[in-house]
C-alpha cells in the first residue's frame, strides 16, 4: 500500500487544460429550447461502435486518461443509452449493426445529441458503402457533429464533443430571445 500511495504522490496531477470547442465540426444546429436547461453543464455519453476497426475506440479510451481527464470536465460515459445525453458513434455502420444503432438512438431520451466519430463515421472512410456497410453514421441516424480523423486524436474528440454542447447552448440562447 505504501508503494501505491508513494506512486500517487510522485505522479502528481497530469491533467492538461481542455481544448476549445471546434465550431467547424458542427453540421446541424437543432433549435430545441429545452436543451441547455436539460443538460446543464454535465454530459453523459453512450459510445456505440457501429462497425469501426477499433482505432477510434482506443482514442476514446484515451479521453479517460489523466492527461485529458474527461470526467473532470463533467463528461461521463454511461452503460445505457437511456442514461445518455449524447451518442458517440464510431465506424462505418455495418449492416449487421444497423438495427442495434437505430435501437440505441431510439432509446436515448430527447434531446439527443449524436456525434459521428472518425473518417468512417463522417464519410464511410476506407470501407465506404457496400453490401455489408451502410457507410457514414448520418445514413442511419441524424448527426449533429462530425469529428473527422483516422482516428481523431483525443483533443479533436474533446473539441467535437464541446462543439456539440456549444451548438446546443446557442440553440438554448436563441430560444430564449
Amino acid at each position: 500500500m505504501l508503494h501505491l500511495l508513494r506512486q500517487i504522490v510522485v505522479t502528481g496531477i497530469k491533467t492538461e487544460p481542455a481544448p476549445s470547442a471546434a465550431e467547424d465540426m458542427i453540421v446541424v444546429r437543432r433549435l430545441q429550447k429545452d436543451i441547455l436547461r436539460t443538460l446543464g453543464r454535465a454530459l453523459t455519453i453512450r459510445h456505440v461502435d457501429a462497425g469501426s476497426c477499433n482505432g477510434c475506440e482506443l482514442e476514446i479510451h484515451a479521453l479517460g486518461n489523466p492527461y485529458y481527464n474527461i470526467e473532470g470536465l463533467g463528461i461521463r460515459f454511461v452503460a445505457s443509452p437511456r442514461h445518455a445525453d449524447m451518442l458517440l458513434v464510431t465506424g462505418p455502420v455495418s449492416k449487421h449493426m444497423a438495427i442495434a444503432v437505430q435501437r440505441a438512438y431510439d432509446a436515448t431520451p430527447d434531446p439527443k445529441l449524436v456525434v459521428a466519430v472518425g473518417d468512417c463515421g463522417c464519410t464511410g472512410g476506407i470501407f465506404g458503402e457496400s453490401y455489408a456497410s451502410l457507410g457514414r453514421v448520418a445514413n442511419v441516424i441524424p448527426v449533429d457533429v462530425e469529428i473527422p480523423g483516422c482516428p481523431p486524436p483525443p483533443t479533436a474528440l474533446l473539441r467535437g464533443i464541446r462543439a456539440a454542447l456549444t451548438a446546443h447552448a446557442a440553440a438554448g440562447e436563441n430560444a430564449k430571445e
Binding site: 506512486q7 469501426s52 489523466p66 465506424g91 455495418s94 449487421h96 442495434a100 451502410l134 486524436p153
Partner: protein
C-alpha cells in the same frame, strides 16, 4: 512436416517465413491435418477462393503451422455442389472458419454444424460476397436472423444475453451466458457484427495501396497487419525491404505491442477494482502514443509501414528520445509491477481465474501471448526470426498456469522486453534507405505474410490479379483461435469475473469479422 509419405507434392510458397503449398485431394487434406496434429502442428487459417473464372472451380485453403514453418494445403472443389471434409474433429478451431468460408464463398463442408457464422441477414443467404459475380455495391436492406443458440435447461438455470452493444467503450458482439446463481455454466459467442466487407473491398483496391486497408482491419494491430500485407506484396514482387526498413518495422511493432499491453494492464487492474492501475497505465500509454505522434506522425502508427519499406525514417534526435522513454518506462513499469504483485485484492481476483490449462490450450489451438501464458512457447519472433529479431534474440515470455495472473505476468514481461528491444534496435539499426520502389507486380501469384502482433500471429494471404490488382486477400487474426478458448476459460467462473477474463485476452472483433 514431411508430407511426401502421404503422396503430396510440395512447392515453395512465397513468404517471409518458411512456407510451402501443396495441392491435396480430400483424403490427403484429412491425412495431412492428422499428421500435423500428431506432430504438434496447429491450424492457422482456413478460407476459400472462387476460381471458376479460371475453370478451376473453388479452392479451399488450409494453412497449417509447425516447427518447420507454414504448410498451405490447397483443395480444389469442381463446383458449388461439391463438399470438402470437416477438419474440426482434428482442429476444433476450424468450426467457425468453415462456416465463415461457406458464408463468404459458398463452399460446403461435411460438418454437422451448418449454422452461419459471419452472415447475419445483411444479404440473401444464397448469395456469396466473395464470388466473382457478386456485386459489392449496396443492394439489400439489413434483416434479422434467428440464430440457434445452445440453451442449458434445468433447475435454476437462467440466461444472460449481452450485446451486441456492450456496456463499455468496446467493439460489438453478442454473448449468451447460461448461469446458475452466479456461476457460468456455458458461454456462447455470436460475432460478425462488425463485418464490413473488408475482403471484398481489397479486390477493388490497387495492390500497392491496400496496405492502408490492411492497417485498418484491427486498429490496435495496424503495424502487424500493414507489415504482414507488405511482406506478401514484397514476396510477390520478389524483393525484400531495405535492412533499415526491416529494423524500423520491428521497432514500430514493439511500440504497438508496448502500447497495447500498457493499456490492457490498466484495464485489467480496473476490472479487478483497482482504478489506480488504470490511471497509471493509461498515463504511460499516452506517453507512448504522444511520442509515436511526434516521431512517426501517427499515435497508433497507422500507414507507417508501406509495401517496399516504411513511410518515413526516424527524425533527427529520435534515438535519444526513444531511449530516454524506454528507460523511464522500464523504471515505472517495475514500480507498478511491484504494486500489482503485492496487492492482495488484485492477486485474489487474478489467480485461478479464467484458467486455460496447457492441454486445453493445445486442443483448441490457443495462440499468441495467451498461449505463452498457458505454457505454449510459440512466438514468430523467435521461431522464424529474421532481420532485427534474429540479431537481438527475443526472450520468450512464458508462464504455465494459464490464468488471468499468468496472462498479466506475460504482458508485464513482454512490455519490458519490448522496451529492451526498442533500446537495442535504436542502437543497432543499420543505416540506409527506408523504402525501395517496387517493380511491377506480376499477376496470378500467391504469397504469405506473417507477423507476431501483440495478440498473436497476424497472417495475410495475398493473390495478385492482372494490372496491379488484388485477386483475393485473406486476412487472419489470432482472435479466430482465441475467441473459442474464451468460451472455455469462463466455465465455472462467476459472472463478475467475465470482464476481467475477457480483458486479460482482449480479443479483436473487427479483425475477426472483417
Amino acid at each position: 512436416m514431411d508430407v511426401a509419405p502421404l503422396g503430396i507434392s510440395a512447392a515453395t510458397l512465397k513468404s517471409a517465413v518458411p512456407a510451402r503449398r501443396c495441392p491435396v485431394n480430400s483424403g490427403q487434406l484429412l491425412a495431412a491435418c492428422r499428421l500435423a496434429w500428431e506432430q504438434g502442428g496447429q491450424l492457422v487459417a482456413l478460407w476459400a477462393t472462387d476460381d471458376r473464372d479460371l475453370q478451376r472451380g473453388f479452392c479451399v485453403r488450409v494453412l497449417l503451422r509447425d516447427a518447420d514453418g507454414f504448410t498451405l494445403l490447397e483443395h480444389t472443389l469442381p463446383d458449388e455442389l461439391a463438399h470438402y471434409p470437416d477438419i474440426s474433429p482434428i482442429f476444433p478451431v476450424a468450426n467457425r472458419m468453415q462456416r465463415a468460408a461457406f458464408d463468404m464463398v459458398g463452399v460446403q463442408c461435411d460438418a454437422d454444424d451448418q449454422r452461419p457464422w459471419t452472415w447475419q441477414a445483411a444479404w440473401p443467404i444464397d448469395r456469396f460476397p466473395l464470388r466473382r459475380e457478386f456485386e459489392a455495391s449496396p443492394k439489400w436492406e439489413p434483416g434479422q436472423e434467428d440464430y440457434a443458440f445452445v440453451q442449458v435447461t434445468g433447475d435454476g438455470v437462467h440466461e444472460i444475453p449481452v450485446g451486441p452493444i456492450h456496456a463499455g467503450i468496446i467493439e460489438p458482439g453478442h454473448f449468451r451466458f447460461q448461469i446458475v446463481g452466479e456461476k457460468v455454466l456455458r458461454l456462447e459467442e455470436r460475432l460478425g457484427y462488425t463485418h464490413k466487407g473488408v475482403e471484398k473491398r481489397f479486390e477493388a483496391m490497387p495492390i500497392v495501396e491496400a496496405h492502408r486497408l490492411a492497417g485498418r482491419i484491427s486498429g490496435d494491430s495496424t503495424v502487424a497487419y500493414a507489415w504482414a500485407y507488405a511482406q506478401a506484396v514484397e514476396a510477390i514482387a520478389g524483393v525484400a525491404a531495405p535492412p533499415r526498413a526491416a529494423w524500423l518495422r520491428a521497432l514500430l511493432l514493439e511500440r504497438e505491442r508496448l502500447g497495447n499491453h500498457l493499456g490492457d494492464l490498466g484495464y485489467i487492474g480496473n476490472d479487478a477494482g483497482l482504478a489506480f492501475g488504470l490511471a497509471q497505465f493509461s498515463r504511460l500509454k499516452e506517453d507512448v502514443l504522444r511520442l509515436n505522434q511526434r516521431l512517426f506522425g501517427h499515435r497508433l502508427l497507422m500507414d507507417a509501414v508501406v509495401p517496399g519499406g516504411c513511410a518515413r525514417d526516424l527524425p533527427p534526435g529520435a534515438a535519444s528520445e526513444l531511449r530516454a522513454q524506454c528507460a523511464s518506462l522500464a523504471r515505472e513499469l517495475r514500480v507498478l509491477r511491484d504494486i500489482y504483485d503485492e496487492h492482495a485484492g488484485l492477486q485474489d481476483r487474478f489467480r485461478n481465474c479464467g484458467c486455460v490449462p496447457r492441454e486445453l490450450a493445445v486442443k483448441l489451438g490457443l495462440t499468441g501471448f495467451a498461449a505463452r501464458a498457458s505454457g505454449l512457447p510459440e512466438d514468430l519472433r523467435c521461431d522464424f526470426a529474421d532481420t532485427a529479431y534474429a540479431t537481438l534474440n527475443v526472450r520468450r515470455a512464458t508462464r504455465q498456469q494459464g490464468d488471468v495472473a499468468a496472462r498479466v505476468a506475460v504482458r508485464f514481461d513482454e512490455a519490458q522486453e519490448s522496451l529492451r528491444l526498442t533500446d537495442l534496435m535504436v542502437e543497432a539499426m543499420p543505416d540506409g534507405d527506408v523504402a525501395l520502389s517496387l517493380p511491377p507486380i506480376t499477376a496470378s501469384s500467391i504469397a504469405l505474410g506473417a507477423v507476431e502482433g501483440w495478440r498473436g500471429a497476424v497472417v495475410i494471404a495475398l493473390e495478385s490479379g492482372p494490372n496491379g490488382t488484388i485477386r483475393r486477400c485473406h486476412a487472419h487474426d489470432p482472435s479466430w483461435q482465441n475467441w473459442p478458448v474464451l468460451e472455455h476459460a469462463v466455465i465455472g467462473n462467476i459472472v463478475p469475473d467475465f470482464p476481467l477474463i475477457n480483458k486479460s485476452f482482449n480479443l479483436s472483433y473487427s479483425g475477426h469479422d472483417l
